[in-house]
Symmetry: none
DNA sequence: CATGAATGAGTCTTCATTCAT
DNA sequence: TATGAATGAAGACTCATTCAT
């Protein structure tokens, strides 16, 4: 019986899942609430029992998914002992997330850039939290003398993320997928590592 | 008399300029055609004498501005003799464009990622052309033995662009502008150069 | 145990009381059934066990309250022997009802005027019964030679009621309440009495 | 050519006229904007070129019609020399307005009583201006020694208006119209005059 | 009897686009 | 060419009512 997905929590989840799909395919503004309702197999009005309005669906989506992503990334990073391996791991996880949940990734990609005024602040907060995972690795590396002191961790963390995001996008869009994601991840992280490393003696 | 901006060409230009401003501030979907008209000091209907519809304004905007950007970048790159200097130059020009025309940059940023179905193909074409400027430098470097052969120029060109784009975005958003754009440009290009270079000897 | 208000009759009453409050504050059309339910501390669905629909709440409200008002007024009038005193008494009771139960009065005030087609007939029936209390006093006075024969009792009864209703409304709305209701009641009834009286010899 | 009713001003007027009809028949809340548009023979959207929203239609309706009514009443009152004749004239004009424009009257009748918060204040202002026409006659009469000093002009003006309004409503609703409006007007004003007059000597 | 989650019909309002002038 | 008043399709959101529990 426990399988029947009719509990309130499930409906909330179902609507969010439906929204991810619909938003990713049509973009936020071209998505109709009724379409999300249909995809979630609920009535139009039901959506408004779980979300304040269309915007709120997007926000909740961020709230939940970004939170998950941050947690997951932290766990993954912790698995690696070596600082430079943490870098690689970050790259791999980041790229894979786009492979595993491309719809969600597509939404993040756009909304991270454009979003209505009042979302912007919230989105940025979560995003910065995400970037801190990288910048703190860099800072740690600088303390340990592995990474060059002159490097600004904030800027490079953004650059690193931007590089990965763009490569992931390319991978999703290119129909043939000639280059594997893991190779790309290695390539990018290698470049950054080599670029940042302290050329000691 | 030459001052009066009523020639057809002027009106076309004025509408496009107005669109850049309006789209950048409100996003494409939250921008009203009437608002663009007002900003351009033109009647609503006049817009439809120069553009097929709202989408067409955005497309034309791309057509013109991306073309200009590509031309400009090529010229700038040609000014540098040294291959690695070309890299730096690319970074500087790219970042500066965001400083000099932030409205336009904001539009590009979003539309490069999301755009209605039918724009996608077109946008990509122009974008790939832009990226080719970098990838061909890389390829040249590989031929000359300066850059490591194992590196995939397509992927790295995207990574490089993504890194720059994100850093530029950060710079635009951060209110204090503590780090100068040129320092950032140097930082990013240094990392990539060092990361790609052939460690001969 | 008798305190627990869960008997069916109580719930019916509670819903009606809640409706009076809610309708008076927001008007019929701006009142939500769910709001009445909340005010009555009942589930939304429960309302539909006691009333056919939202309209039916209003009708029942009339049915009960108008009936009570008519009975009460008749009793009060009967307390007075003198015909002209009955007039005054009517005015006082009428005005006081607005003071004692302003929410109910507010609803009556509006619904007596506007109400959906199907309510109109019913409302009028009850209202006419109410007005007959006055008109029959007038008629009695005409028989007794106290009130001028030429006066149309139906019209004057309406005029009298209208005058009182408006004065009561004014009293409710005016924040300072400078003039007491009883003074107003006397003023109005005096004018009507003096205006209708037979100036015998 | 001047006859063709397509000028902006005409459209404004047409929408207002349509609104009077539609509101009077269905009540404000049961009236659809689309219905008003249809009645006015314009597109739904056109309404919003002339009015901010549905509420604004009602407000404008008041603004214009109450203003007219006040002007008209003042003019009519001025035609009478005798103070008591002014009273009669007021009654006649007031009652006739309901006969001549029953739709408008029906709206005024209800909206004067119930209306959304923000209308209330405005409505009252205009209404008080209207009532001042009566109260100032009373005051004048008191100065001239014709009307009893003890009478409160504010209260009586409201009572007088309420009496007339109710009688008019009765007249509109009664199908047979046995009693003429002018007789009713005379009856009511006679009662009030006699009731207020100073019994000198 | 009681609940309250779910439903979905119903409407206001917006805004890209047209077209008579 | 230029105008801007007019159009009307489209969609977010509300809330009375139902019904499975």
């Amino acid at each position: 019986m426990a399988i029947v997905p009719t509990k309130a929590e499930d409906k909330h989840k179902r609507i969010l899942q439906a929204a991810i799909k619909v938003f990713a395919h049509n973009g936020f503004y071209n998505s109709k609430v009724s379409e999300i309702a249909k995809e979630a197999a609920v009535a139009d009005g039901t959506i408004y029992l779980y979300f304040k309005n269309k915007d709120d669906i997007l926000i909740s989506l961020f709230e939940e998914e970004m939170g998950k992503a941050i947690e997951n990334m932290k766990e993954e990073i912790d698995k690696e002992e070596d600082l430079l391996d943490k870098f690689k791991r970050f790259a791999i996880v980041q790229l894979n997330s786009k492979k595993e949940n491309p719809d969600l990734a597509a939404i993040m990609e756009v909304e991270l850039r454009q979003s209505s005024k009042f979302m912007k602040e919230y989105v940025n907060r979560k995003f910065i939290e995400y970037l801190k995972i990288i910048s703190s690795i860099i800072r740690e590396g600088q303390k340990g003398g592995i990474i060059k002191k002159g490097i600004n961790p904030t800027i490079v963390s953004r650059a690193f993320w931007g590089a990965l995001d763009e490569v992931a996008r390319f991978w999703v869009l290119s129909p043939k997928k000639r280059v594997s994601l893991s190779v790309s991840a290695e390539l990018i992280s290698d470049i950054f590592i080599k670029g940042m490393i302290e050329e000691s003696g």
